[in-house]
């Protein structure tokens, strides 16, 4: 019995979600009283990988030649390493790498996979996890009935807990099979230095209430002052007022930041589905009957064009004093 965690990398760095997955795996291994190994792919430096030690990683196997575009090769490598270390529980962050790779591992190992897990596993009697269902409107407790359990952890659900330790980093030396997909080009959106939305802890989002794309300056300014990432409702991205990668909701990104500030968004059920797991929700809307207020922790019934500039000033003052 042992726990194996996939630590994702992107742009030659260990992903933020990898720290969370590693700390989740460390807790799982300690709850179940088993060994704990980490596998990583891609060009992250040894120093960067060593950083995972502070979240409980003890042994890290790296396959540097592989990048995220090869789900089959990554899956083959994971299956082989899982066999070597006798993994009975595999943890992956269910981000775009996890979604590409974990189902293939599941098929190849005939291992059950539960995706969208939002809490620590209960290992007192088999393996039982809590996952989000109906696009964030409910939860399910799911039990694994397979020898190997794959846990697809929702990013930013339990957070990364620091603990002492320095890992032993080794080359994985696995056979991966042929690459069947070729990467022709990578197009990066200009995020203007913002944290990508799925990893963002603070989000400032705006909707059709802002009337037009020319009015987003104050939203960007508020986000910049807070160190937050910008998001938007679906009509706003459909109208091309904002880029598609900002669209949150049932048919866009589902996010769970610590703070979600919604400006001029009505709070339709499909919008809420993507954001209602946020820890604190602030709603700014002229309409006191806007459904979003029912899902909010803090609300300001007022005109965004008056309220947001005040908030920007308040954040500046707050930063000057703290």
């Amino acid at each position: 019995m042992s726990v194996l965690v996939l630590a994702g990398t992107a742009d030659n760095k260990v992903s933020k979600s990898a720290f969370e997955a590693v700390s989740y795996g460390a807790k799982l291994a300690s709850d179940a009283g088993t060994d704990f190994n980490v596998i990583a792919f891609g060009g992250a430096s040894s120093d960067d990988l060593n950083g995972l030690g502070a979240y409980g990683a003890k042994a890290i196997l790296v396959e540097k030649s592989l990048n995220n575009t090869q789900p089959f090769q990554m899956a083959n490598a994971i299956v082989e390493v899982a066999g070597q270390v006798g993994a009975t529980m595999i943890v992956v962050s269910y981000d775009e790498t996890g979604k590409a790779v974990a189902p293939i591992v599941s098929a190849k190992m005939k291992a059950g996979l539960v995706a969208g897990v939002v809490d620590y596993a209960d290992v007192s009697n088999g393996v039982v996890v809590k996952k989000s269902v109906f696009s964030g409107k409910a939860f399910a407790r799911v039990k694994f009935n397979s020898d190997v359990a794959i846990i697809g952890l929702t990013p930013n659900s339990v957070g990364a807990k620091e603990m002492a330790g320095s890992p032993d980093v080794k080359d994985a030396n696995v056979s991966m099979g042929d690459a069947r997909i070729s990467l022709k080009e990578t197009k990066k959106e200009d995020l203007g230095g913002q944290v990508p939305l799925p990893e963002a802890e603070l989000v400032v989002s705006a909707g059709r209430g802002l009337k037009g794309p020319e009015n987003w300056g104050m939203i960007e300014e508020l986000a910049n002052e807070l160190g937050a990432t910008t998001a938007c409702s679906r009509p706003v991205s459909d109208l091309d007022w904002r880029p598609h990668h900002e669209h949150v909701g049932q048919t866009g990104l589902a996010i769970r930041p610590n703070l979600y500030i919604a400006v001029g968004i009505s709070g339709a059920i499909q919008h809420l589905a993507g954001v209602n797991a946020s820890k604190v929700i602030v709603v700014i809307n002229t309409d006191p009957e806007a459904p979003f207020f029912k899902a909010a922790d803090y609300g300001i019934v007022g005109d965004a064009f008056e309220v947001v500039p005040k908030l920007i000033e308040a954040v500046k003052a707050f930063k000057a004093n703290n």
Binding site: S182, G252, D297
Partner: protein, 246 residues
Amino acid sequence: MKILVAISKAPDTTSKISFTDGDTKFNEAGVQFIVNPYDEWYALVRALELKEANGGSVTTITVGSADADPIIRKALAIGADDAVRVDAGPTDAYFVATQISEYAKDKGYDLVMVGKETIDYNGSQVGGLVAGMLDLPYLPNISKLDVAGTTATAEREIQGGEEVLEAQLPLVLSASKGMSEQRIPNMRGIMAARSKKLEVVPAAAGEALTEVLDYSLPAAKSAVKLIDPENAADLIEMLHSEAKVI
């Protein structure tokens, strides 16, 4: 080009979610069912566009009981040529993928397309599972797809951007927003759908590897704390000292 599109039945996005039988079953009373949006708007419509451009056929496959037939008829009305229903409850993603793979394995499909996730169980699993089971290349989370001869060129959404990928048919892909525009079935399509073939096949041997024990709803939010717009600045202090998020 021979294309298989997996479509599933999902509760309408505005459905009220509740449970019965001691919170072990989804309460379907009063719930309107739709074709899972990612399967319909993106996978199915792009499959039809590819067929229109290159010739071939589009077959849909659904794992479910007869109560899925209305949404299958809708897919036929939008333009699929024929449909298959594997007559079994969709117990978990592994079971569903086993059924799709068993059906597809010796039929020579060039493309197997699925939506990137269902809006009920949100698993994002079936595409990768089918690829793994059939040992075909997998293009996940694809927002743009073109096929020339036997080469597929696809854009995959990644954090903060897109990757342009290329792979040889046959392959499996999961479709996300951007791949095509929704099509509303017209009267002719709806009439034609009535006489299109919907083949019901028995389930192949297969098992579920996971099992739902019970469901729960999120804890109710306490009432919103309203701040006067004149004192909007107070919010920042509250977010710091009270909510402790900044």
